[in-house]
Amino acid sequence: MVKTVIGDDMDITNSLDKNIKYIKDTFKGADDIIFREFKSGNKNCFMVYTDNIVSSDTIENAVLTNIMIRSTQNYNINSMNEDAVSVGETKKVYTFEEVFDAVLLGDTAIFTDSDNSALVISTKNWPSRGVPKAENEAVFQGPNDAFTEQGSTNTVLVRRRIRDTALKVKRMHCGKRSKTDVAVLYLKDVAKDELVQKVITQLENIDIDAVFDCGYVQQLIEKNIVSPFPQLQMTERPDKAASAVLEGRVVILVDNSPFAIMVPAGLNMFFQASEDYYERWEIMSLLRILRFIAAFISYSLPGLYIALTVFEPNMIPAQLALKIAEGRANVPFPTLVEVLIMELAFELLREACIRLPSSAGSALGIVGGIIIGQAAVEAGIVGPAVVIIAATAGICSFAIPNTGIVASFRLIKYFVIAASAFFGMFGFFMAQLLILSHLSMLESYGMPYLFPFCSAEAGGYSDLKDSLIRVPLIFMKKRPAFAKQETDGGKREEK
């Protein structure tokens, strides 16, 4: 458990005045904290909560009305909890730390005279924007709801899809000051115990002031921080998260973040889209293969172009080589600079389009495309072939259904470009091998990153059914190798 910073471990005293003074001193200057003193019969009581994140209706109708109007009893904390408060979730606490945590989370704390405890009543009512539509991982066929910033809603969205008592939700806080709610979801009889424990331990060990988004958590619990490849998968789709839970993976939901983290994650998983399972297997298998090809093109094509045109022009058919040379006749820069100019322009355009409002973003895309594509060629800054190369690589990167892995390919593209620029096809091949070598070194929570393409040690060759191609659903009867195997009949054999 993360230690509190605002309060300390001081216990609640019997004296209500002392308790009130301590609370008011602690919250001094925080005008959104509401203090309310009232009587229950002849007994003095004190209530504290945070404005705007509580349900006023609950406080007034289920708490205050019952204590102040409908009863003339002198309630203490126990009797108040048993007789007066008509709210489902209540908790008796003994330290100020627990009180402060609860109040800042949207709960209400009630103190009474001569009681060394407080009653925390669940009154959370945070502002939310409802369940939004999935935008980054949109599909033609299938549900379109997405996670929201409210952690509790996100949990509901997953639980709605898995009505199984084995679905466990472990709640915890991350961030010393933000105390952000984090929920760990898994299926008890499917997810491996060591995986669940590892994730929980990693989350408990997070030492940071605040967690504002699951991106923080992702970076803090990844093993290899130097690698450009994400070792955890993020999704905005509840159906994808639910599917991950069913596969034996662990899903982490972070409050204030409309994304879920799925653990473990391998390269293959970044190429899987929800839609793959909603439509027929033949076409989705074709699309899977296309995505892998697109990924390769997205980071390799500019480097390959440099290697071929600069070092091995005689590999290109003569007519094509002449066309390229003709296009470059007025270009004053070497091919490497030409490619870098185009790549940089494309990156800038992409970044600008994201930052601008959607209507202006699309306009900028068109204007930028025309300027960069046509004007740059006419001005003799770049050759037409380079425009085609950069555009093709860019388009291919959009075909990959996960933005995390696309960012990795964008980065390694420059490594391939550099290697090809220095050593031609030799550099190109060496760069590919180093990337492959790096990928084979990576692991995500014990699972090889290249699983199931290299899964001889895990006996996971049957998981190839859901990799480059997606076989018909009736043939996908076994859970992945990283899940508990007792639940699907029989252990796998190492090959």
Binding site: N314, A318, G424, M425, M430, L433, S437, S440
Partner: protein
């Protein structure tokens, strides 16, 4: 003999052997092979393949018997294995740099190419043998697919009318078969690598034997293609006939003019795997023998490989040194087998 608890599955070991030695089969072996067996290619190939598979299968079954030993003779064998692997890797690096200079980078000197290969292999070796095993699962598949692609068009485009059973002499063929088996030169590699064998020991004969035979098929394809296109006499004069062969094959609708670059991808992959794996295993062997299993910086092994790779003055000299390394390998095999037999007798007595 493993200093880390890194176990490889049988499939990974097969993939690793295939990935590592396929490049040697395409580059180094055809020239040496044709010069040994002349016209009598097909029979030597078939018998050589079977002999090599059985020989290394038996050898691995013996080596796995002593994977947990720790006595003085074992340590000496470890040192010899490390020396042999470094020399073999160094010569392969030289041959690779020659091929790269010939077909890809004529303007960059061989030493630079060798340096880059060894540097990249050293970087890739940092993950250990387990990661190399994983990588080989992918490289082996890619290499096999590439070979099938080439083989399909090669068979389609060429007519294999020439006979390769000319001048058949029993004794000569027998000698050739034995020589070819020794050309594989993987005894030291097996001696160290089998320490990582994570499967049932009894199955290692099948594992290694199958992998060696598969690798031999690559040699068969390369040799038959080279001898068919150039003829055995002309092919015997060319150092890298199997690489040059690719230019004579017509790929339908091909957009690539110089097709030998395609096979360079295959060769680079294989040599990259070979150098990085040998750096890992040599370092392990030295660590086990000299440092009691503690970490030995593989950068020294990598440096040794690079230094050896710049020693030859020309390709003929390099092939001559490779012959010497083969004899060293054969001597190592004999010593290792004698050692295993001694250990077996000692264990039976106790």
């Amino acid at each position: 003999m493993s200093i880390k608890d890194e176990k490889l599955s049988a499939r990974q070991i097969q993939a690793l052997i295939f990935s590592i030695f396929s490049g040697v089969m395409v580059t180094v072996m055809p020239f040496r092979f044709i010069n040994v067996c002349g016209d009598n290619i097909a029979l030597t190939l078939i018998l050589g393949g079977i002999t090599a598979a059985v020989f290394y299968g038996v050898l691995s079954r013996l080596f796995i018997y002593v994977k947990d030993e720790n006595d003085l003779f074992f340590k000496i064998l470890c040192i010899l294995a490390a020396v042999h692997m470094c020399m073999f890797a160094g010569m392969c690096t030289y041959i690779f740099s020659v091929i790269t200079s010939l077909f890809m980078l004529p303007e960059i000197n061989k030493e630079m190419v060798a340096f880059i290969l060894v540097l990249c292999a050293y970087i890739a070796s940092s993950g250990g043998i387990k990661k190399k095993g994983r990588m080989s699962e992918i490289t082996a598949v890619l290499m096999i697919l590439g070979l099938i692609f080439v083989a399909v068009f090669m068979i389609k485009g060429e007519n294999f009318e020439r006979t390769y059973f000319k001048g058949l002499k029993t004794m000569e063929s027998f000698r050739n078969v034995l020589m070819v088996s020794f050309y594989f030169d993987m005894s030291s590699f097996l001696f160290v690598m089998l320490g990582h064998y994570g499967k049932n020991d009894k199955k290692c004969f099948k594992t290694v034997g199958t992998a060696v035979f598969l690798t031999f098929i690559v040699l068969a394809a390369a040799l038959l293609a080279a001898a068919n296109i150039f003829g055995s006499t002309d092919a015997a004069r060319r150092f890298f006939a199997a690489v040059e062969v690719l230019n004579d094959i017509d790929f339908p609708g091909s957009v690539v003019q110089r097709q030998e670059i395609l096979i360079m991808g295959f060769i680079i992959t294989s040599f990259f795997m070979l150098i990085s794996t040998f750096i890992i295993l040599s370092s392990e062997a030295v660590s086990k023998a000299v440092f009691g299993g503690k970490k030995f910086w593989s950068i020294f092994t990598a440096a040794t490989v690079f230094i050896i790779s710049i020693l030859p003055n020309n390709t003929i000299q390099a092939f001559g040194i490779m012959n010497g390394i083969d004899y060293f390998g054969a001597l190592f095999s004999v010593l290792a087998v004698l050692y295993v037999l001694t250990v077996m007798i000692r264990r039976k007595r106790t």
